[in-house]
C-alpha cells in the first residue's frame, strides 16, 4: 500500500510538535572549602535561575595515622553570600581507600557520623544529599551499605543522589546501581590524561560515544548530568605526565617567550623557568585541555539522544568559580541548557 507523502509529512510534524521537552533545572557544583560567593558568582546564579548548588561539605578519607575514616577539608560557610533562592545540596566525596580499609563492623558508625556532620554544618534544612565515590568491585558492597544506612538515618524527607561514571552506566550489571533516588552522570574526565597522544581528556565525545548506546536509556534510576567548565595544563617531563596546572590557558602560554607552540594545544619549554608557580625545565611539554561552549553543546546534544527519558533533569556545571566563568558568558551557558531540553 502506498502512503501519501503529505501523510508522512503530517505524521513527522505531529511527532515533532508533541515530543515533550525535558524540563532542565540548571545547577552548579561548588568545590572549594570556603563557600563565600563573589558578586559575579551570585549574578550567574540569579541570571541563570539556579535553584540548587551542590556544595562539597567535606571529604572522607582513611587516616593512616589514626587508622580510621575521618572527615577532611570541612566547608566553611559564609551564609550571607548565598542567595536565599538557592538550596545547598550537601555533597560528600568519599575516597575508595576509605572502604578498602574500613572494617565492615564500622560502616554503621561511619554513616551516622557523616549524617551528624552534615546536619551540624548545614545550619539549615536540606532535602537532598549527594555522595561522590568512584566505587569499584571491591568497594561496592560497603559503599552501597553506607548509602542504605544513611537513608535510614536521614529519613524519608531527604533524597539521596550519587555520582555515576560513564562505565557504570554502560555496565550496570557488573558495576551495580547505587541504592539512591537519582544519579549524577559525571560527563567529563573521560580520556586518559596520562597518555601523550590524548588530545583532551576532559571532554572527548568519541570516547563518550563508546559508552552510550541503546541500553543507556534503560538505566534503572533517573540520571542528571554534570558538565565541565574547568581547564588545566597537563605537564609532561621525559614523556611522563607529572602534574596538572589548574586554569592554565593556551593564551597564557602563547604569550610566554620561554615556550614554543608545537600544536594547537601543545607547548614545549625552550628555556627553564617558573610558569604559574611551577618550575619547568627545557623540553618539558604542556598540553592545554579546556572545553568551549560548542563542545558542551555537542555533549548536551549527544546526551539528550541517549539518556533515559525523564520529565525533569538537573544539569550541573562543574564548577562555580569566577575565574572559570570568565570563559563562559551567561548567554553561552544558557545555550547549553537549551540544548539539553
Amino acid at each position: 500500500m502506498k502512503v501519501p507523502l503529505f501523510a508522512i509529512v503530517l505524521l513527522f510534524l505531529f511527532t515533532r510538535c508533541t515530543a515533550p521537552e525535558t524540563q532542565i533545572s540548571p545547577a552548579f557544583y561548588h568545590w572549594r572549602t570556603r563557600l563565600a560567593l563573589s558578586q559575579t558568582e551570585r549574578n550567574y546564579l540569579h541570571e541563570l535561575n539556579i535553584k540548587k548548588l551542590y556544595a562539597k561539605f567535606f571529604d572522607v578519607d582513611w587516616s593512616e595515622s589514626s587508622q580510621q575514616a575521618l572527615p577532611q577539608a570541612l566547608i566553611e560557610l559564609v551564609p550571607e553570600t548565598l542567595p536565599d533562592s538557592v538550596a545547598l545540596i550537601p555533597t560528600i566525596f568519599i575516597t575508595n581507600r576509605t572502604f578498602l580499609n574500613l572494617p565492615a563492623s564500622e560502616i554503621l558508625q561511619l554513616a551516622a557520623s557523616i549524617c551528624d556532620k552534615i546536619k551540624a554544618l548545614a545550619k539549615a534544612p536540606f532535602d537532598e544529599v549527594q555522595l561522590d565515590c568512584d566505587w569499584s568491585e571491591k568497594t561496592r558492597a560497603p559503599y552501597f551499605q553506607l548509602i542504605e544506612t544513611m537513608r535510614q538515618n536521614l529519613g524519608p524527607d531527604v533524597r539521596l543522589s550519587a555520582t555515576i561514571r560513564l562505565h557504570q552506566v554502560k555496565y550496570p550489571k557488573q558495576t551495580g546501581v547505587p541504592p539512591v533516588d537519582r544519579g549524577m552522570l559525571m560527563f567529563y574526565n573521560m580520556g586518559d590524561v596520562e597518555a601523550g597522544e590524548e588530545h583532551n581528556s576532559i571532554l572527548n565525545l568519541e570516547i563518550a560515544q563508546q559508552y552510550l548506546d541503546k541500553n543507556t536509556a534503560q538505566y534503572p534510576i533517573p540520571l542528571d548530568v554534570a558538565l565541565p567548565l574547568f581547564s588545566w595544563g597537563v605537564l609532561f617531563r621525559e614523556g611522563k605526565m607529572i602534574r596538572l596546572i589548574n586554569n592554565l590557558t593556551a593564551a597564557d602560554l602563547a604569550r610566554d617567550e620561554r615556550l614554543r607552540a608545537t600544536g594547537s594545544n601543545r607547548f614545549e619549554v625552550v628555556r627553564s623557568g617558573y610558569v604559574d608557580g611551577y618550575y619547568l625545565y627545557t623540553e618539558d611539554e604542556i598540553r592545554i585541555e579546556a572545553v568551549q561552549t560548542e563542545n558542551l553543546m555537542a555533549a548536551a546534544e549527544l546526551l539528550k539522544r541517549y539518556l533515559p527519558k525523564t520529565a525533569q533533569r538537573n544539569l550541573a556545571f562543574y564548577h562555580l568559580d569566577s575565574v572559570l566563568l570568565e570563559r563562559f558568558s551567561l548567554q553561552s551557558i544558557n545555550s547549553i541548557i537549551k540544548e539539553m531540553k
Partner: protein
C-alpha cells in the same frame, strides 16, 4: 629582580630568623597554600584522586615529611 633571586633572598632571611611569631605566620601561610592546592587538584574523579595523592607525596617530600597534607586537613567527627 627575578623569582630565583627573590627566593634566595627569602631563604637567606629565613635562616637567620628567630622570631617565633613570624615563623608561626609563615607556617600558617604554607598550610593555607597547601589547602588551596589540595582543593584545586581534588576533583570528583578517581584519576584526579590519584593525582592529588601524587601531588601530596611531592609536597610531603618537599616539606621534609613532617606532616602530610591529609594530616594537616584532618578533622574529627565531633559536632
Amino acid at each position: 629582580m627575578n623569582i630565583e633571586t627573590i627566593k634566595l633572598e627569602i631563604i637567606g632571611w629565613l635562616i637567620k630568623l628567630e622570631d617565633q611569631a613570624i615563623l608561626q605566620k609563615l607556617i600558617e601561610l604554607k598550610q593555607a597554600t597547601e589547602l588551596s592546592n589540595y582543593e584545586g587538584n581534588l576533583k570528583p574523579m578517581s584519576k584526579e584522586e590519584m593525582l592529588a595523592r601524587a601531588e601530596t607525596s611531592n609536597r610531603d617530600i618537599e616539606a621534609g615529611g613532617v606532616y602530610t597534607i591529609e594530616e594537616v586537613m584532618e578533622e574529627n567527627w565531633d559536632v
